[in-house]
């Protein structure tokens, strides 16, 4: 327990100390939220752009922390022999994975507080039932995205993970219904987007955010499949050194 707490604290401190990581997890979502809520140019399909942007940016926040932040950090830790070195301490892999999970959840909590608070200030008014659907969706997506991040980190060099994760971040930002509604995408691209975890999460958060909308069952299914498949794939291919 003492080990997990110490490891979590270090993981968290190092994450918050990395400028590029804070930019990705808080800076970019905050800018997107502020800019597009003021400059109403996106085809959001809602009366107030904030009603579309707030859930989308929360989905983006999960993706940036669980996939990009975790992937890049783990990729470099593997490259620098940190994981190898920890392997010969009494910490153990389960405790290390627990600590990484707790650190991710702590960052996400911070993101939800900052981004959710900002969105409320900008006039976002989600229904009371929002959290009941949003929390499980975000947790499931965290697992799916973390699996993707670790899948990259387990085989690629640090620099390659950096490039791949940032590329995937941009791609999923555009295809994930986070700032541009999936409905605006051309047909075939829309079908692809709907099969990806990013759009599944943002679909669920958008539905949860609008009173009376039913939660799309297909999105739950897509997210669940990714949440099972990517950690398994990562575990099967991960190289500790």
């Amino acid at each position: 327990m003492k080990r997990v707490v110490a490891q979590t604290r270090v993981e968290l401190a190092l994450t918050l100390r990395r400028g590029e990581s804070v930019l990705l997890s808080l800076g970019i979502p905050v800018v997107l939220l502020l800019f597009f809520s003021v400059v109403d140019v996106l085809p959001t399909g809602t009366d107030d752009p904030i009603d579309f942007l707030a859930p989308g940016v929360l989905a983006l926040a999960v993706m940036s922390t669980a996939m990009v932040g975790l992937g890049i950090a783990t990729g470099f830790e593997r490259q620098y022999g940190v994981l190898k070195r920890l392997g010969s301490t009494p910490l153990g892999r389960p405790a290390l994975l627990t600590a990484k999970t707790l650190a991710i959840l702590a960052v996400e909590l911070l993101q939800v507080t900052v981004l959710g608070g900002l969105a409320l200030l900008l006039g976002w008014r989600p229904p009371a039932s929002f959290a009941a659907a949003a929390v499980p969706a975000m947790l499931l997506a965290t697992v799916a995205f973390a699996g993707l991040g670790l899948l990259m980190a387990g085989r690629l060099r640090g620099e390659a993970v950096l490039a791949a994760a940032n590329g995937l971040y941009l791609l999923l930002l555009l295809l994930g219904g986070m700032v541009i509604p999936v409905a605006e995408l051309p047909g075939p691209l829309r079908a692809v987007a709907r099969a990806l975890p990013a759009a599944a999460l943002s679909d669920l958060l958008h539905a949860a955010s609008s009173a009376g909308a039913a939660l799309p069952g297909q999105a739950w299914l897509v997210l669940a499949v990714w949440a099972v498949a990517t950690p398994l794939a990562a575990a099967a291919t991960f190289r500790w050194e």
Binding site: K2, R3, V5, A6, Q7, V10, A13, L14, R17, R18, F76, E77, Y80, G81, V82, K84, R85, G87, S88, T89, P90, L91, G92, E241
Partner: protein, 301 residues
């Protein structure tokens, strides 16, 4: 029970590269054992097998009578590891890394005192990536020792460390020995090994070449010839008669006297040269240096 026991160890990598080829040795508690050999001799592979990172292809390794792979969780609280390079978060400060590692062990050293002992107090809050190579090595050593290990595996601990740092590392290794810790030191630096090790295991191409204390290794290969340099084309027959031992000109200007280097023989040689008014280039007699032994064993030049 030995602290470390390696028996007929073979480690083969994919592609049929044999890194370790039938190596056997052991080390006791309170002993500093140097695993000495040139780069690529199989030292790191051997150490990493003892640390549980690699499994033997054949043979066996035991550390504190445990199997490093199967009993990994029982072994890690009792060993300290210093990897050949890296192993630390680039952005972490030494004081944070020490506190973290200290939390892993039941009765750790005081992190601050240990950093101070290794002369790292002034850089305790400097991120790892901004430390010099020598400072990084000393932090790695501190991290290996913070859990009060019974066996410490140190892979090239003095690489890139300056003279003062080396002295501190030597002293700390001496303190470990006094405390009863078994220290396994993998190094290619002969001088370092000679200074700190109780015993040496010289390896090359994954095989054991020689084993013993530094003194034993040097005396076991006592010189049986006198080698000297002088102008080429000496009358070796005349010199042989003068010395009462055969002399050969190994190559122009290099000579070898097939006799043990007794003072009388050396004196006879120099007086013969004086009589013929010949300059003596250099003269190698007496015990070999450990470096001679090492180079001859490993076929270096």
């Amino acid at each position: 029970m030995s602290a470390v026991d390696v028996s007929g160890l073979v480690v083969r990598y994919p592609g049929d590269v044999t890194a370790v080829d039938g190596l056997s040795f052991s080390a006791e508690p309170g002993e500093v054992l140097a695993l000495l050999g040139p780069n690529g001799a199989g030292k790191t592979t051997t150490v990493e097998t003892l640390e549980g990172y690699k499994s033997p292809t054949a043979g066996s390794v035991r550390v504190l009578d445990l199997d490093p792979v199967r009993d990994h969780a029982r072994l890690t609280p009792r060993i300290g590891v210093m990897l050949q390079k890296g192993g630390v978060y680039p952005g972490i400060r030494p004081v944070e890394a020490m506190a973290l590692f200290a939390s892993f062990y039941a009765s750790p050293e005081d992190p601050t005192a240990l950093l101070d002992r290794l002369g790292l107090t002034s850089v305790a809050r400097t991120p790892w990536r901004r430390l010099s190579g020598g400072e990084q090595q000393r932090v790695s050593l501190a991290l290996a020792l913070v859990g009060r290990p019974e066996v410490a595996f140190l892979d090239e601990p003095t690489a890139g460390v300056d003279v003062t740092g080396r002295q501190v590392i030597r002293e700390v290794i001496g303190e470990l020995r006094a405390r009863g810790t078994c220290v396994l030191l993998a190094t290619h630096e002969l001088d370092e090994a000679e200074r700190v090790a109780d015993r040496m295991v010289i390896v090359d191409h994954g095989r054991l070449l020689a084993e013993g204390t530094p003194a034993e290794l040097m005396s076991a290969t006592e010189r049986t010839s006198i080698d000297f340099g002088a102008p080429p084309g000496l009358d070796v027959d005349s010199l042989s008669r003068a010395l009462g031992a055969p002399v050969t000109e190994v190559r122009p200007g290099r000579y070898s006297v097939d006799a043990s280097p007794s003072p009388a023989t050396v004196a006879a040689l120099t007086s013969w040269l004086a009589e013929h008014d010949l300059a003596l280039g250099d003269l190698r007699a007496g015990r070999q240096s450990l470096e001679d032994v090492f180079l001859r064993l490993t076929g270096g030049s």
